[in-house]
């Protein structure tokens, strides 16, 4: 008898676990994924709560809280539940939420993260829902092309505008003139200046150049040279192209030959944060508008007794005199299991038009005034003697700027970036040659691209 009961209990457990693991939701399925859910909650007067995942640098600000108050007053039927995750932990948290099917309505991501999610089928195409909230995805964001199969999956927030930030005190102490505000330095000139302003002899080390352990700081110079050709014509990794090799070698020259940047071993083991530049121990850094948005204009959070300057991003000698930019679009997206896609896009629209602008970044949304943005930013940076003309030129107002891809975003972008960063340190510590590093990255990324194409 006991055996029979035992057998029955085990059978129920197995059956329930099979059901739990293998059940098919009647409301889901492919059809539901490709067609956004009907959202009539607003019209019925029901309150909808949106879960909004974003990095804490954007969600924990006073400006965001003020924006939320304005938004919820304007749309009393839509409540927002912000899920704030620190930048360094963001990708893991985001991946876990998406892959486990957790209900999220709006997620922030950079190009790599969003394209990775698009390729893996986590996101919803937005064109139809966007029309319901009065947005034309192909017209309202300037020259913003469809992401995949003629559809837009990303709701663009802002395009990164890269430039050179520099610490005027470090330049003054070294007796070196400031970079030209309009004519970019070449990378070779930047290396020379970085070496001149480096002073690591004292107690407080000053490195001429700060960098982040992100791909573009190593291969970005190469991207400027070959117009962001991260993939070969047949869709495989092009990281072993000579332009990228030259780019990596330039960084090696600055870091290990000229000793003008922190050695990578030290950088990694220090867990260096991307905002560390603003502690004053560095001369120059290449960074985008987020440095102004998150640190330069926030002296209460990043107090400093030195003035910052801005100049165009350095360029290769072949492109001397040209204003170049690494183009990457931060965007919002709606996971395909969101039940409130329409409300999510209302929030997205208000986020770019109201919050993004108010928080110091120029949205790609063309229905907002750029002039006010430039004026506000120039006002916030006036203590650094940064003029409206400089701000307009470098923060998105130059129509002649040459944009090249900031990162690889097509085939297996997450694997591409992750593999590159895992191996590249071996070149800078002298454990591998640059050719071996690039060959090794290419082999692994090609395998990931092939694997992804099978899925």
């Amino acid at each position: 008898m006991v055996r029979k009961w035992g057998l029955l209990a085990v059978s129920i457990v197995l059956a329930s676990s099979l059901a739990a693991c293998g059940g098919k939701n009647d409301n889901g399925g492919e059809g539901a994924a490709s067609k956004p859910a009907e959202t009539t909650s607003g019209s019925k007067g029901e309150t909808v709560t949106l879960k909004f995942l974003n990095i804490s640098e954007y969600l924990d600000s006073a400006e965001f809280k003020e924006f939320l108050d304005r938004f919820e007053a304007k749309y009393p039927n839509i409540k927002v539940d912000p899920v704030s995750v620190p930048h360094e932990q963001y990708i893991n948290k985001r991946n876990i939420m998406l892959a486990s099917g957790e209900q999220v309505d709006l997620i922030w991501g950079n190009g790599v993260e969003q394209f990775d999610a698009i390729n893996k089928g986590f996101l919803m195409p937005l064109d139809d829902v966007a029309q319901e909230v009065g947005i034309d995805m192909s017209k309202d964001f300037g020259d913003f092309k469809p992401d995949k199969d003629g559809k837009h999956y990303r709701f663009p927030i802002q395009q990164n505008n890269w430039m050179l930030y520099y610490n005027k005190k470090v330049f003054d102490d070294a007796g070196v003139p400031y970079p030209d505000p309009k004519v970019p330095m070449t990378w070779d000139e930047m290396a020379e200046v970085a070496q001149k302003i480096t002073n690591t002899s004292g107690k407080d080390k000053v490195y001429g150049m700060f960098y982040n352990n992100w791909g573009m700081y190593f291969y970005g110079y190469g991207s400027q040279l070959n117009e962001g050709k991260f993939y070969t014509d047949d869709g495989m990794a092009n990281i072993d192209a000579p332009e990228f090799k030259r780019s990596l070698e330039w960084m090696n020259d600055v870091m290990n030959v000229r000793k003008a940047a922190m050695p990578i071993a030290e950088y990694i083991q220090n867990n260096t944060d991307f905002l560390s530049y603003w502690n004053g121990g560095y001369g120059m850094v290449v960074g985008a508008q987020w440095y102004a948005q998150l640190a330069a204009t926030k002296k209460d959070q990043y107090p400093r007794d030195w003035k910052a300057g801005i100049a165009p991003m350095p360029v290769p000698t072949e492109m001397a005199g040209k204003h170049m930019n690494w183009s990457n679009i931060d965007s919002l997206a709606v996971p395909k299991n969101s039940k409130h896609a329409k409300e999510a896009l209302i929030l997205a629209r208000e986020y770019v038009a109201d919050y993004t602008l108010g928080a110091g970044a120029l949205p790609m949304y063309t229905k907002v005034s750029k002039d006010q943005y430039f004026a506000d930013l120039a006002e916030a940076l006036k203590d650094d003697d940064i003029t409206l003309e400089q701000v307009t030129y470098l923060f998105g107002g130059d129509p002649d700027v040459i944009n090249v891809e900031e990162k690889p975003v097509l085939g297996a972008p997450q694997e591409y970036e992750s593999t590159f960063l895992d191996i590249v340190s071996q070149y800078y510590t002298g454990a591998m040659t640059v050719d071996d590093v690039l060959k090794s990255v290419k082999t692994k990324v090609d395998a990931a691209i092939v694997e992804q194409s099978k899925q």
């Binding site: 197995l14 293998g22 098919k24 071993a265 083991q269 997450q414 992750s418």
Partner: protein, 313 residues
Amino acid sequence: MATTATTKAGRFGGRQRSRTYSLERLERRAGLLFALPALAGFVLFILIPMVCVLLLSLYKVDLMTYTFEFKQFQYYDKMLHDADFWKSVRNTLEYMLIYVPLTLALGIGMALILNSRMRARGLVRTFFIVPYITTYVATLVVWNVFLHPTEGPVNTLLMSLGVDNPPQYMVDTHWALPMLALIGAWKDVGYHCILFLAALQGVSRDYYEAADIDGANRFQRFRQITLPLISPTSFYLLLITIIGGLQAFYQMALLTKGGPAFSTTTLTYHIYRSAFEFYNFSYASAVGMFLFVLTLALIAINWFAQKKWVFYQ
């Protein structure tokens, strides 16, 4: 009469048996009731997730729409042809090759010291157990500072001794994994020490006195008396150290993120990365099943091997 007596005895014996039988049933029921909470926990938190992982390794799963596509053994095939998988197997075995013997040897060594007559034994015992009771994150932060390539005390000492290029531990493919194994051993050795100490204190002094009379030296006493008599504890600790070694994760996740150049990506970190960085839950589940089988195999080998070296009194 004899027949009647037999019948009575038979009846009496039958009642006895039925009473004994009902007592047995009651005891069995009570036993089951006592075991029920543990059993429920096992089913809910171990059995069901295990079955789910097994199923996940056979299906392509989309948890957003709850769609499942049966893929047979495709993810296992991919696993067996994946160079990163084999590298993670090699890293795991290399990690264990350092971690397991080091933890056991240090554990028993420290226990022998604490078992001897020494001053401030309680204080020393506290020092030994502190790493085990400290949170992993705090421990790893300290080690990260300790092994800093330019400003850490280890390399500062090495440089003061004339070593021009001391190791860059966490970004050097040759050093990173051994250092993580060393940190793992340092963290866990306190627990081993406590259990070994308890086992040592359970060994009767009579054996040592008899050995002294026979003229045994210190090593012979350790080899012929101590080791055999604490062998059940050694066997238990060997098993949990093997399991712990196979599941090593914290150091990799917090200090090296599996790098540099994949050199510290163990099986558990490979599973984590496949699932949570590259969204490939089914492939990660296949690797998880492999890890489960590998763990079972190593435990089975040791289980059978114990007959030759474990002595139960």
